[in-house]
Amino acid sequence: MSVQEGGDYRPSARARLSPTLAPETREPGSRGPRARHARPEQRREPPWRPTGIEVLGAVLVIGILGRSHFSDLLSSPAVQTWATIFTAICVQAVPFLVMGVLISASIAAFVPASFFTRALPRRPAAAVPVAGVAGALLPGCECGAVPVAGGLVRRGVAPAAALAFLLSSPAINPIVLVATAVAFPDNPEVVLARFVASLGVAVIMGWLWMRFGKGEWMRPSARPVTEGMPPWQTFWTSARHDFAHAGGFLVVGGMTAATLNVVVPRSVLDAVADSPWLSILALALLAVLLAICSEADAFVAASLSQFSLTSRLAFMVIGPTVDVKLIALQAGTFGRGFAVRFAPATFVVGIVVSVLVGTWLL
């Protein structure tokens, strides 16, 4: 779902909001017509600097022209094996990312935010599980769930329920479950374990917030982050932005998996993987560091064949709920106090639930 969600997309609402929004959305540094007359030197052209497009073009040209040279350089078997594993994960995961991004961009562009508020029960204790299950219906990468949850809170949904949705939506939506099934064809019970564990984490965290959460911990940013664009523009822009974001982190995950497979000595991997607690902790930490989109993390988990299914379950359960990217996003949307309390709590609950579900089902 797009980072730009948060407000209503109906034209009438936009028209009412835009006069008050316009000053805030202006670029810092521009001061309006009067400033232009007073400072004539601002009309001078800035010196030309290479931007992204030029750098990209240069890289491509060099790459294509120097192709055979690079192929020779990269001909060592270790490098080629690394490259094959890396490419395999990226290629395998991209179709799932595309599906996820298309659906979440559609939701951001065509489904009004009020839909979510109307669908949830009023009492928080009931709203938490409902919100958790609702996450199953709405594919969305992690980065999209945070602004949606912020929007829900702003619109009066109980914060506990918004949090349950925040945690479950990236983790148990249909695309993620299909991807998990594809990644573990010989172990279909992993899909069920992922569903149960992730839903459990979402509901538990929601109820914990209900019990212990204090209002001042959560301060969603005051103004909605809308652009006032027509729906199709929102769709293409959200899709582009979300895929660029998710794809970038997928590449990080692919590189890590390739490196673990090729560079790290087998003995080290085996030593970590054989110890039950160390393997779970190691993969849980890895999930936090890698920040892979939930549609793709099953493929990285599948590549870690030395590790037990339970530790790989922990990887898949923790990844969509807490990672370096999400912590930053949550801090930005809900404030630092929230992120500092929420992330470690989710991490611990995630590990405990993964161990319990893994022992039971896997």
Partner: protein, 252 residues
Amino acid sequence: MRAEAQSLMLFLLGGALLRISLGDVYLRYVKESMQPFLMASGAVLILLGIAAFVTDLRRQQHASGLPADRDLPAAAPLGDGHTQHGPRVAWLLLLPVLAIFIVAPPPLGSYAAERGAPELAEPESSNYRDLPPDDEGVDHVTLAVYEYWQRVVWDDGQSLGGRSIGLLGFVTPAEDGNGYFVNRMRIACCAADALPFSIRVVTDQPAPPTDSWVFVVGSYVPNPYAAEDGERTPAIDAEEIIPAAAPANPYG
């Protein structure tokens, strides 16, 4: 990164996917069943790159007074790795594009096979049916290396007795110089989770070049080199060794 660069990146990635999926190159990385999805995703990404580019262009033309190239509000307090223009991490998408177009990573071969495999657990129930009849026109039956391996390791080769079996795989050398191994990598999902299955070829003939593909016709024999190879390495007593072309799908 600027919006235009993002759109171009998506376009290139879509092109890379189409390049490998129109043909057999994709089989080096993923399973055959992924082909339609790769083609569809490639087409969608190309379309998305173009549409997003056009959308941004139109927005720039219409949004006079607002800065041209932002796709997020300038003072966005999101702090999640965005520069003013977009996620920096998106630059990494160049890597698979470059890998596919310039390096064209080959299928996994001797390096991966020799790295060894984690110990597989015996399946709880395994029932090995009788071997199928011989292939047409010849006096052997072709088995997958993985199947041969299973029948030997889990079933002591009982179902293999007395038959001539054909195995297609790539060669890795044996350290002691007596014969060599024929291997096949088996993937569950994609090349990243590939596991090697190696069969020791018992023969007097010199080893073919490493990574070359051979079709070995022979019969089951307990591994005479089990002490060096490990108890779980099956062997085949070779009668005929035929150089073969690398199959389109290297994993099986």
